[in-house]
């Protein structure tokens, strides 16, 4: 077994959630690394869409922005924000892969503000394409840090709706049926959502992490099924590919 960093583990666990032959809308940072890793391992025909307008690019080196020239390198088509989000709105984006400052028990994501909106304690960047991808894609995968205040019972501000306040809430709000958060990947665990209650549910704990650590670092009552597994270790090949994707350690070195 090779040595690996927590971020490398998150990237490999995240990459496993993506199916070959499917489309994924990818945000900046770790989601990008995970999608590129999936392409280089089990999902060579994974189709990446970047919100600035790139479709199915061959990303040559780690991009700085989801809109930079690395993201449209040898793409099959270059359109714009509307072109990508309309592709999602008509049901062609299978996975959205997003990060967030806060994620709550229903998978709602905050990337807008901490504190009062008009007099904020911390101003964050806002939705970008996250609300769009999270509203319009079939399955949303979220990457977050596993700390009590990053996983609160209720986010300060719903930038991107998860299951809002429970079962049926997305459909009542007018969001497309059959969509919603699918997985949450943190530095401690992999989580999904309970079909009935739409609440976050543990799937597997990362190697070397205890169940109690997960519980202690979650700001709400996480559903714990009987069959909690252990997340797969990164393989040697995965780590090699990761280091090819981000040789300078810009993301995975964090």
């Amino acid at each position: 077994m090779s040595e690996y960093t927590p971020v490398e583990l998150m990237a490999t666990v995240a990459s496993h959630q993506l199916e070959d032959g499917r489309t994924v809308g990818v945000g900046t940072g770790l989601p990008m690394i995970a999608a590129l890793l999936a392409q280089k391992t089990h999902a060579p025909n994974l189709i990446i869409l970047f919100e600035a307008g790139s479709m199915a690019p061959e990303v040559p080196t780690l991009p700085i922005s989801v809109g930079d020239s690395r993201c449209s390198h040898r793409a099959v088509a270059a359109t714009g924000l509307a072109g990508i989000m309309e592709t999602g709105q008509r049901g062609m984006i299978d996975y959205a892969f997003l990060g967030g400052a806060e994620v709550d028990m229903y998978g709602n994501i905050n990337s807008t503000v901490i504190g009062d909106h008009d007099h904020p304690k911390t101003r964050l960047p806002g939705s970008g394409g996250a609300n769009d991808f999270g509203s319009l894609s079939w399955r949303t995968i979220i990457i977050a840090r596993h700390e009590k205040d990053k996983l609160p019972e209720r986010v300060n501000f719903i930038t991107t709706p998860g299951y809002i306040d429970g079962s049926g809430a997305r459909e009542r709000a007018g969001l497309p049926r059959g969509t919603g958060p699918y997985r949450v990947i943190t530095n401690l665990a992999l989580m999904g959502f309970d079909k009935e209650t739409c609440r976050m549910k543990l799937i597997s704990v990362h190697p070397g992490v205890t169940l109690q650590q997960v519980i202690d670092n979650t700001g709400f009552e996480l559903l714990i099924p009987d069959d909690v597994g252990t997340s797969a270790l990164p393989t040697k090949e995965e780590l090699e590919r990761l280091r090819e994707i981000d040789p300078a350690g810009i993301i995975i070195g964090r």
């Binding site: 900046t28 940072g29 970047f50 919100e51 600035a52 307008g53 790139s54 040559p60 080196t61 991009p63 700085i64 922005s65 989801v66 809109g67 930079d68 020239s69 993201c71 449209s72 793409a75 270059a78 359109t79 714009g80 924000l81 509307a82 072109g83 989000m85 709105q89 807008t112 909106h117 007099h119 904020p120 304690k121 911390t122 101003r123 964050l124 960047p125 806002g126 939705s127 970008g128 394409g129 996250a130 609300n131 769009d132 509203s135 319009l136 501000f157 719903i158 930038t159 991107t160 709706p161 809002i164 809430a169 997305r170 009542r172 709000a173 007018g174 969001l175 497309p176 810009i250 993301i251």
Partner: protein, 323 residues
Amino acid sequence: MSEQGIGELLSTVTADEIREWNRDHKQRGLVDKVTSPKEAVQKYIKDGMYLAIGGFGHIRISMPLIYEMVRQRIGRLRVSGHTAVHDLDVLIAGDCVDAVDVAYSFAYETRGLSKNGRRAVESGRVKCVEWTNAALSWRIKAAAMGLPFLPARNMLGSDTFKYSAARTIECPFTGQKLVALPALMPDVSIIHVHYADRFGNCLVRGTLVKDDDLAKASKRVLVTAERIVPDSFFRDAPERTTIPYFCVDAVIEAPFGSHPGNMPYEYYFDEEHIREYMKAGRDEEQLKAYLEKYVYSVDDFEAYLDLIGMRKLNSLRRLEELR
């Protein structure tokens, strides 16, 4: 029943107002529009206007016009922040901005948050209304289509909706709840492109972001181009025209016009310069010194590029080409 966000609509327009502006103010004939950043800003950009910027915040942005707005001390702008990055940040540094329709703003993607942008919002100097990247694109598309609104399926069930100025409607055929996004007609847009002719026909290479719609939606459109080409470039293959000339009010030749941003197929980011700027942004005094050096005390964009130097500029070309 219709729900509605509590955010302020920073720019309002009716469908007939869109039509009447276009009837009364947009030149139809083929006339030479080549000018300088200085003249274009003097003529078309006034304090308090609603501004939109082409490209993607730090990719394909019109830095000659941004620096010129700072140099001319344009104030109280309201800005469309559909992935605004370095473009908006420099305008905030120059104290040009009062309010932002935020989709993504005050941050530099993988490089992290902007101290300068955050400070402006957290101090109350810059006001925010919330939208999303698609919402701002569709609002602009509505104006480009001559419509007062477009329906969509994003924003619903979120605080992003609550702090926006969107509303909900029912589909007249299916009863389905939808979001209604009000048309956005910026007072002025600045767009950096690869090729333009002197009339204003433009080609954008790589991703378009929303600049075709933006050019159609805006009251005034100022274009900077890496290169000015003869109009036969467009007439020989008219399917490649991204922006038709009659949308455009001014054309400016500006090689390296996106520096320190990326220009796809031309040059990559000047990371060293962006780091220098972001570091200066930590502190108001340092930021003033940065602006003094790179904006106020240079005459124009070409003099700014001289400060950057040809060696650096050439290296950015090689970087873009993965050499």
